[in-house]
Every structure is written in structure tokens, then in C-alpha cells.
Amino acid sequence: MDDAARRPAIGAAKRSHRSIERSRWRRRLGRGLFYAMLAAGGCVMLFPFAWMLSTSFQTADALLVPPPQLIPSPIETGNYAAVAQAYPLGRYLLNSLAVAGTSTILQVLTSAMAAYAFARLTFRGRDTLFMLYLATLMVPLQVTIMPLFVEMKYLGLVNTYAGLLLPSIASAFGTFFLRQAFLGLPRELEEAAFIDGAGHWTVFRRIVLPLSLPALATFGIFAFMASWNSFLWPLVIVNSPDLMTLPVGLSNLQGRYTTSWNLVMAGATVAVVPILLVYLVAQKYVVRGVTLSGLKG
């Protein structure tokens, strides 16, 4: 009797054990599938980079003979030297670094100063002026580029570093973004400093800037990447190879070498590596910086 009564219960326990086992397996399988899909997607995103790198080490002959090889054999390291010999690739690289570096430092500085004025100083017309700042965010380069070029022509700055740099030494977006960050800082420290006789410059430099390092870094990286990747203005304002930045130099390379993809990809790799290094080191700030603005540099 007892046994008979117990049997179904044992059966049920066994069954439920089995179904738990089965659902665990199903979950594992689901998770495996899920990772497989993510990995497949990840390959789609990574593969063009891998292919670029691989092509940059291929010989011209190997590229002509199918099937394409992911691992080049033989490995041709001379492509980089070949591009660098035909084109001032090193010069492009230095120009990009110099222009992006200078414009980033200046943009962070000028934006932070203006942001301090908007966040901490009170003066007549402040809010109106700030609205004007915001309004300039709407102005696209395509509307200003012709008069800007004419202006540079009259200033004698066409085909100069100054012409390349000047339009990107201040940023309305940076001012807006840093003002927001400064408004979030506690005022007690600043008030204490003022009581100790500090002026605005000291407070700005010693208190506000150090406390806003994450915001400054976020905007700085955004500014650097925007400048590093910018194409249209450098394309228009500069025409001598000595002054070209990497994107413009690369786009020229392609016109001449339409079939020499190994050389073009070597050039492209040189342009990508620095920015990917920045991304690896400061990923959090890069994602934040690029995402926050939503606007292309």
C-alpha cells in the first residue's frame, strides 16, 4: 500500500528532476547559441580590420591569385616602406597628430573657460549669449564652409597650418558640455577659496578643473577623434602634401593606387592604429564622448 502510494510520487520527482535537467540543458544550449550569434556579429565587425591588416602584408602578386589568403604567405613587410616612399606618410601622420593635439588642447581650454563664465559668473546678457552658443550647434559645416574658405583666402591662410587649425580651436558643444559638468560641482570648496582671497582664475585652475577631470577627458577625447577623423575641411583648405592630414593623404593614395590594395591598406592601417590605441586605453571616455554629442565633428 505504502509503496504503491509512494511510487507515483517518486515518479513525479524523477520526472521533475529530469525536466529540471532538461531545462538546464536548454538554457545552456540557448546561452551557447546566444554567444555564437554575438561572436558571429563580432566577427563581422572585426573582420574588415583583420582583412585590412592582412592585405597590408600581402605581395601584389598574391593578391592577384585566388583564393585570397587571410594569413599572407609570403609576408611582405615592404608595403609600408613602399607607401612611405611614394607618399609622405610620416608627414601625414605628424600633421594629423599635431593638428588634432593642438586643436584638442585649445578646444578644451577655451571651452572650459567659457563654461566657467557661464556656470559661475553672473553678468548681464549671460543667458542670451548662452542661447546663442547653443544656436551655433545647429549650424552645419556645409553652410559655413564657403564663406570660411573665402575668409581664409583673404587672411592669406589657404594652404597653411593656421587655416587648417583655426576653425577648430573653440567649441560650442564643449562649452555646453563642460558648463553642465561645472554646474554639478559642489560650491563649498570654491567659496572657501574665495574667502581665502583667491581670484576666479585660481579657483578655475586649482579647484574647478581638477574636480572635472572625467568631463574634461570625455570632451578632450571627443575633440581629438573629431579632429583626427575630420575630412571635408582639410580636403578643402590644404592642397600641398606637406600639410595634408592622414585622411586626406589616404584618399589621394587611393586615386593613384586603385589596384595596389596592399599599399593602400598599409596606409589605412597607419591611420587606424593610433586611434584604436586611444580607444583601447580610454574606451569608457571614448564611448561616452562619441555618444554624448551625437554630432559628427
Binding site: M45, K153, F231, V264, L276, V278, Q283, T291
Partner: protein
């Protein structure tokens, strides 16, 4: 009394403002204002400018190249937007889970976003090269004769769209992921208690609460991508046979290749106003589909 102290106070204010304000006035506000004047001139920068009133705008009405470019631009955006929205949403949903390794995937998906358009365009031009490109080789392996991609007027714009969507997917993903993470866990729990299925939870909790992020992405993407230029310039240069000629390409070409500064300025104004109207319309329409918490 106002004198000395007031003067010092303004000196401080000007000192903080001027370094940012002066360049902005000189290189953004000034050119913006000048641009409207420029659009009323005929000027190739070599001979003195000539005032021609609204002739440039009238000329636009009959410029079939410009009309074609406008259509190509719209075509580009209509191909690009669904791709990045659906793709970005899919990836964001997949990554919005507490699983190991998610951070790595997120980093990988965002990688193309930090790469310059020129490099992306070159990479894809090579991948899609009709002779020796990898994509056609792989298609060939499964018995498909790949198209001529950027060398074929029909396939050139899709080529540009593929490269562009590939690059921007990570951006859309990051914005939507941020949106997903603001949805409170309690809503899902409440829905689960009510016996809502996974699909029902997605339809009635996730989607409505994600609409503000989707709206943001759509507005920003439309503004940015109607101005598509870099990747077109490098991948196809507007060709073949003008098949990928877009509005920005027309503006740049007219201004800097054909020496028609005034005409290009007129184009840029028409285009700018069109974008403003489009954005305004979107803000009006958002009330119909965006959920506000």
C-alpha cells in the same frame, strides 16, 4: 563707484569668455551670416563678385543634377536608417544582459565607430572590389556571381550604404543600450507576475519605454546622414555616372571644383532649411509614438 570695481569685474568676464567666443564669432557665426549674402552673388573668387539677387535659387529649380543628388541622398538615408536601427536594436537587446564577456562584445561592436570614414570607405571598397575583392570571392564559393558593387551604377549606392551601416551600428547600439538600461527592473517583474510572456513583455514594456532613445537616434541619424559626404567621396566619388552623387557632394563640387561659390551657398541654405523643417516635423510627430515617462 561702479567705475573701478565694475571695470575689473567685466575684465574677468571678458578674459574667460573671449578665447572661446572670438573664434566662434569669426569662424562660425560670421560665416553663417555671410553665407546668406554669398548666396546672392555670382563669384568664382577670381573676378569681382556680382550681385544677382535670387538667381542662384531660381537656377536650383532647374538643376537636374541637384535634383538627382537630392533623390540619391534620400535613397541613401532610406537604405541606411532601417539597417542601423534594426541591427542596433538587435545588438542592444542581446547585450542588455548580465552575462560574462558582454563588455568585450560591446567594445568590438563600437570599434568601427572610432575609425575615420576615409579608412572605412577604403576597407569596404577593397572588400567589395569586383576583381579580387573578398566578398565576391565568397559569393562565388556558394555559386553566386557577385555584382560590380561600386563600379556598377545600380550597386554603387548599396555599397556605400553597407559600409556606412557597418560603421554606425555601434553608435546606435550604444544609445539604445543606454536607453534599455534606464528601464526599471520592477516593470518587468510586474509584467511577469501578471503572466506576460517574453514577447508581450518586449512589446508592452521594452518597446514603449525605448521610444525616447529611438527618437533621439532617428533625429540625430537623419541630420548626420542627409549630410553624407566622406564615404561617398572616397568610395565612389559620386560615380559611376553620377549614381552616388549626393547633396553635399554637389555643394563641394560646385564651390571648389566649378568655382560657383554663390550657387553652392544657395544650395547649402536650401538644404539646411530642408533639414530644419524635417527635424521640426519629427518633433511634432513624436507625440504620436514616443512614450514619455
Amino acid at each position: 563707484m561702479v567705475g573701478h570695481r565694475g571695470w575689473r569685474r567685466w575684465a574677468v568676464i571678458v578674459a574667460f569668455l573671449a578665447p572661446g567666443l572670438v573664434p566662434l564669432l569669426l569662424f562660425t557665426v560670421g560665416p553663417m551670416v555671410a553665407s546668406s549674402g554669398l548666396s546672392l552673388l555670382r563669384w568664382n573668387l577670381l573676378r569681382p563678385p556680382e550681385f544677382i539677387g535670387l538667381d542662384n535659387y531660381a537656377k536650383l529649380l532647374g538643376d537636374s543634377d541637384f535634383h538627382a543628388a537630392a533623390l540619391h541622398t534620400i535613397g541613401f538615408v532610406m537604405g541606411y536608417l532601417p539597417l542601423v536601427l534594426i541591427g542596433g536594436l538587435g545588438i542592444a537587446l542581446a547585450l542588455n544582459q548580465r552575462l560574462r564577456g558582454i563588455a568585450i562584445f560591446r567594445a568590438v561592436y563600437f570599434m568601427p565607430m572610432v575609425t575615420s570614414w576615409v579608412v572605412v570607405a577604403l576597407m569596404w571598397r577593397w572588400l567589395l572590389d569586383p576583381n579580387g575583392g573578398l566578398v565576391n570571392h565568397v559569393l562565388g564559393l556558394v555559386g553566386i556571381q557577385g555584382p560590380g558593387w561600386w563600379t556598377d551604377p545600380v550597386w554603387a549606392m548599396p555599397s556605400v550604404i553597407i559600409a556606412s551601416a557597418w560603421k554606425d551600428l555601434g553608435y546606435v547600439m550604444v544609445i539604445l543600450l543606454a536607453g534599455l538600461q534606464t528601464i526599471p527592473e520592477e516593470y518587468y517583474e510586474a509584467a511577469a507576475v501578471d503572466g506576460a510572456s517574453r514577447l508581450a513583455r518586449f512589446r508592452h514594456v521594452t518597446l514603449p519605454l525605448l521610444t525616447p532613445s529611438v527618437f533621439f537616434v532617428v533625429v540625430i541619424s537623419l541630420i548626420n546622414n542627409f549630410q553624407v559626404f566622406d564615404q561617398v567621396w572616397v568610395m565612389t566619388n559620386g560615380g559611376p555616372a553620377g549614381a552616388t552623387s549626393v547633396v553635399m557632394e554637389r555643394i563641394v563640387r560646385n564651390a571648389f571644383s566649378y568655382g560657383q561659390m554663390g550657387y553652392a551657398a544657395a544650395m547649402s541654405w536650401v538644404f539646411f532649411v530642408a533639414l530644419l523643417i524635417l527635424t521640426a516635423v519629427q518633433f511634432r510627430l513624436q507625440r504620436r509614438w514616443v512614450t514619455h515617462g
